[in-house]
Every structure is written in C-alpha cells, then in structure tokens.
Amino acid sequence: MRTQGTVDRRSLLKVAGSSLAALGLTAAGCGTGSGSGDGTVTIRYTWWGSDDRAKRINQSIALFEKKFPKIKVKTDFQPYADFWKKFNTQASGGNAPDVFQNAIGFLRKYDAKNVLLDLREQAEAGNLRLDGFRAGLEKFGEVDGKLLGIPVGSNSMALVVDQAVFTEAGVTPKPGWTWDEYHAALARIQQSQGRAGDAGPYGIMYLYDLYLRQQGKAFFTTSGLGFTEADLTDWWTKAYERVRSGVYADPKKTIQAKPKSAVTAGLAGSEFTWDNFAVRYTAEGKSTYGLAPIPTTDGRKTGQYLGSLMLSASKRTKHPKEVAQFIDFMVHDPEVGRIMGYDRGVPATDAQFQAYVPTDEVGKQIAAYEKQLVESRVLEPITPHPAGADVCEAAFLRLAEEMSLGKRPVADAVKQYFTEAKTALSS
C-alpha cells in the first residue's frame, strides 16, 4: 500500500509538473515570432479590411516568401474597429505585430506611446527605398522628422453615386459644384426617384474636415479642435432638417441595412466615402456606381488632400531589417501592385501604379478621379491629426447618429461632443 502511494504521488507530481511546463510553453508561444536555428525569421503582419483584401495580401505574401525564403510572414486581420482594439491591447502588452497597416489618425497616438519604429535608419541602410513614390507620398508618414509609416496607396474623399438614380433624376455633378447645387440635386432625386438623395454626411469626420478646410479652418489643430460649437451647431442643425424632410436617408433604415451601405441597399442615391471603397459598392449592389466630386463653398476649393494607408513597424520588433525588406517589397514590387489593384487606394509608387492598369469600370473611375484631383490642383497639404483623433472620430459618428435619430437635441449633442473631444485629446 505504502509503495503504491509513493508511486501515485510521483506520477502525480509528473502530471503536475508537465502541466506547469505546458503552461510555460503556451506563454512562450505567445511571444513575438522570432528566429530559429536555420536563420529563418518569422514576422507578424496584421491589417484591417475585407476577405477580398486578405486574399490579395496573402497572394502577395506568397510571392514575398518565394523571393525571401528565409523570412516567413504570419498574418492576421479584422474589421477596422476590432483591428484597433486588438492592436491597442497587443501593443500595450509590448506584443505589437512587427508590421501592420496604419493610417494618419493613429501616427501621433502610437508615436506618443512609443510603439512605432522610425524607419529612417532602415531606409538609410538601403533596406527600404524611398524613391519612386508618386505625388510626394513618401512624406505622408513623417511625424516630427520621424518616418513612422510608408504609404501603400493614395486615396481621397469622394461622393459615391448610384448612376442610374442620378441619370434618371437628370442630375450631373460637375467639378466645383457648390453645396447648394448638391442639395438641390438631392432634393430632385428625392422628388423624382422617391428615395433619399444622400445617406447623410453629418457624421463623417473626414468630410466635415473638408467642409471646414474650404473655409480656411480644419477639424483638428495640433492640440485640439479647429472649429467652434457654433460651427458644428450650424452643420448639424441643417442636417437634422434634411433628415426630417427626407433629403438625407432615414437613419433608422440605414442602420438596419448595415453592413450593406445605404446606397447599395437602395435607401439613398449617394454617400461620401473614400474613393477606393468604390470597389466595394459594385460587389455589393445591383446598380452601377460612380464617383462624383466633393461639393465646394466657393465654386473652386474642395479642401481635399491625398490620404493614405500605410505600413508601419513596431519599435520592439526583433527583425527591423526583415521588416523593412518586407515593406519595401510590398510597396515597390510591380507584381504585388497587379495583385492588390486599387484595394488600398491608387498605388503609392510609380512601379506599382504603372504595373496595374484597371480594366473594370470602377477601377477606371478611381484612376480618373484621382488624376482629375491632381490635375485640377485642388489638393492641399493635410492638416494635423493629434493623438486622440480616433476617439474623436468615433464620438463624432455616434453623437451625429443620436442627433439624427432625434434622441438628442442638436445643442445637447454639440455640447457633449466638445466635452468628449476635450477628454480624448487631453489624455
């Protein structure tokens, strides 16, 4: 009996020991991917976007791994909002992915938190080429002299229109059209087509930014909001009237149509969004969709700038060289350009821009739209996006929705917005 007991205890200890070891292994497995014996290096790359984007990226990565057999790329992707929640949690634990998709609104935020790698050093070492970018895009990821992101494509706000609806209503948007003309067009669509002219622009921070820029202001200054409560009260008061009169779509309906857009769900004739999203509308809806210019205040100035998705690297990556080589490949390789198309905007480098000639209607429209932006010289320098810009964007969208649903009087929504923005920008 006694010996029996000892044996039991021993095996018991073994079990306990091995389970502890297993725990330890799992914990180790959570760490950043790193090198193995044969010199193979694994880097992690994450992004936000649709399944379609993931398919294209995975094809590109297969090419990369063929050319750089010693580098393996592990991937992960989520929709936009979920991506940033996950990223934030990983980064705070010192476990940010080695390379990830980034955008202007997050550069200062994560620079302040010491998350982003200054890629300048790698560029100087020759692992990352900064020449061959279009329209000065290589400067887009610079913050305070640091190179925090490398653009993969350029995009700009546009008005996506349901062409059948616009044609039947006899409306043709022209470059330089004014907000009055735009709203007259929406009213005409509403009367002749029995659907709202627009999905409602009042909650889109990046569009309101353009509207403000047309008047010499901007959504953000370096440290706060660049507009007054009176400005926003005016913008939302008029918007609320238009929701009530049906010129803008009923928010109750558009919310329920999601994840479909109001335009493809047949609830509105148009809506403002980034031009590269136009690809999505054709896949989603039955009509034909096109891009129309941003309305202006003075008949000329649209307030637009080229925006861009970028690739950034983690400051804590153990493989800065491999990460730089990967970014270089992803932005310069012509074959990658052909695979990615206009999914993340018009390719940032000449090599990729020339490699992909769109053959589909939407692609041609996007190319034409951005060409027209460059040629008509409406583009202006981008204004700052301080840390906290992302929280401000979410609050803007939410309070605009509450206002449009009539849950909050405009004055109340404006006041609440300024309170929340102040908290977000000060922390």
């Binding site: 205890r9 919310i255 149509a257």
Partner: protein, 336 residues
Amino acid sequence: MDTAVTPAPTPAPVTRPAGEAAPAGSPPGGGHPRGRTPTGRARRENLAGYLFMSPWIAGFLLLTAGPMVASLYFAFTDYNLFDAPRWIGLDNFTEMFGDPRWRTSVEVTGWYVVIGTPLKLAAALGVALLLNQSRRGQGFYRAAFYAPSLIGASVSIAIVWRAIFSDGAAVDRGQQLLGMDAGGWIGDPDRIIYALVALTVWQFGAPMVIFLAGLKQVPRELYEAAQVDGASPWRRFWHITLPMISPVLFFNVLLETIHSFQIFGSAYIIGSQGNACGPADGTLVYTCYLYIQGFENSRMGLASAMAWMLLLAVGLVTAVLFWSQRRWVHYEEGAR
C-alpha cells in the same frame, strides 16, 4: 382529470430537504470528520488532494483573484495600458457619476433587468406548470424548451436575432399584419432593448428545469385536500404551489437577476453597427460602456472603477433579495 387518476396517498417520491432546490438556506453539508490530528497518511492524502486541485487553485489565483486585486488598484488610477498607472484617488468615481453616458448605461441595464427577469421567470414558471403534468412526449417538450438556453448566448443566435427584428423581417411583417407600420426594432433606439428582452425571455429553459424540479417536490396530498375543500385551480396555485416552491423561486430570482446585470454579448452584437451598442446608445448596457471605456478609449482605470461599481450594485441587490426572503420564502421544517 389527469391528477385524479393517480392512486391516492402514495408518499411523495423523495422527501429529503429540498435538495438542490434550496441552496440559499441549506446548512453546510457534511460537517467535519472526526476531530483527531491527521496521521501521516491522511496528510499525504490531503497533499494529493491539493495537488489535484492545483490547476484550479492556480487558475483562480492567477486568472481571477490576481486580476481582481489589480483592478481594485487600477480603479483609483489613471491607466491607459501604456503608461504606468497614476494614482488619482476617487477621480474616476466622481467622473463616472457626472457622466451622462454612464447614467444612460445604468438606466438601460436597470430597464433590462426589471423587465427581462420577471418576464423570463413568468415564462419559465408557466411552462413548467404545463409540463408538470404527465403527458406523452413530455421529455421531448422539456428538451425542446430547454434547448434555447443552451444556444441562446451564442454569437450566431444574436446575429439571427438581429435579422429577425430588422426592417422587413419576421417581426416587422407581423407588426404590419396587425396594422402597425413601425419598422424594424433594430434601428429604433427606444425599441431595440425589447429585442434583447425577447432574447433573454426566449431562454427560459434553464429556470424552467429548476422550477420543474421544485414542482415535483410539492406533496400531492396537499392538492387533493384542497380539491376536496373545493379550492379553485387559481387558489391551489396561489396557496399551495407558490409557497411550496418559493425556495426554488427565490433561487431563480437571485440567479437570473445577477445574470441579467451581466448582459454583454447579445447587446454588443445586436446593437453594434458602426457605433458600439447603438443605435443612439439604445443597447448601451453597463458592461458595454465599461468595454468601450476600457478598450476603445483606453481608459482602464475608469473601466476598473466601473467594474467595481457594478460588483457593489449586484452585491447590494443580492443582499436586499436575501433580506426580503424572510417575508416570502417558506422553507419546510427541518430544511432551514
């Protein structure tokens, strides 16, 4: 009819003190073993016992107790996950109470608990009463009614729910048949909460099973005596069934109330399209706002303070329920 057929005074199946049905008042089971000092062998057995438990003890300490203590500390700090927490005393709590959105979340949750829990329990008790009669295929019905509470918390059900209550879907069409042109509930900040309530009521199976167990314990002769005296079914329910199952009822009220306070998944999935827990904060339940503050706004200190406030509130409600039971919960002699 059906009850009358049973041969008269067969004693009720098992008459042990309300078993699993009365966890609240039952005495601590077992009692201590003999009061002698443990021998070497007993000590070894103890050690083995603790070793077997060690994964769970470690799990509890590392994954539950540790984080709880940490969050208690964070509740008094400004903590954004990246920088070291900075002690700010009660600032998180003053900010919380002054925040209109926090008050909205309290209202939404309160409303959900107050409407959802009684409706769910009423449904559970009603169906349990129906299923308490011996009928053919009873097992099937029991399983069928129980099934939703197994799958109801899943993401896919929440997505289906969203679809059912949207424009032009089943609920909207039903409304139109009744001549109401109100549209889907999902886009309406005032009505979307009832979609959540409907989802929790639909999961009445779990409390129903507990009620059924309680109903089986009610001695049949009580009903027979009442019937002889000419008591109506309603009076029999009110004066026999309800008092006899009151410990079970108490257990269910307690469990479901606490459960309701913790609603998160369904609210987040059904309400979030563009804005988390919308539209217009219509599904902004407490845990949802906690999540937004913590993970969207990176305010872990504030989120921790909110979590402790929720714990306090649930604790308070539980205490009130326990205090109230002496007025309406009847334990059989010997069971207390």
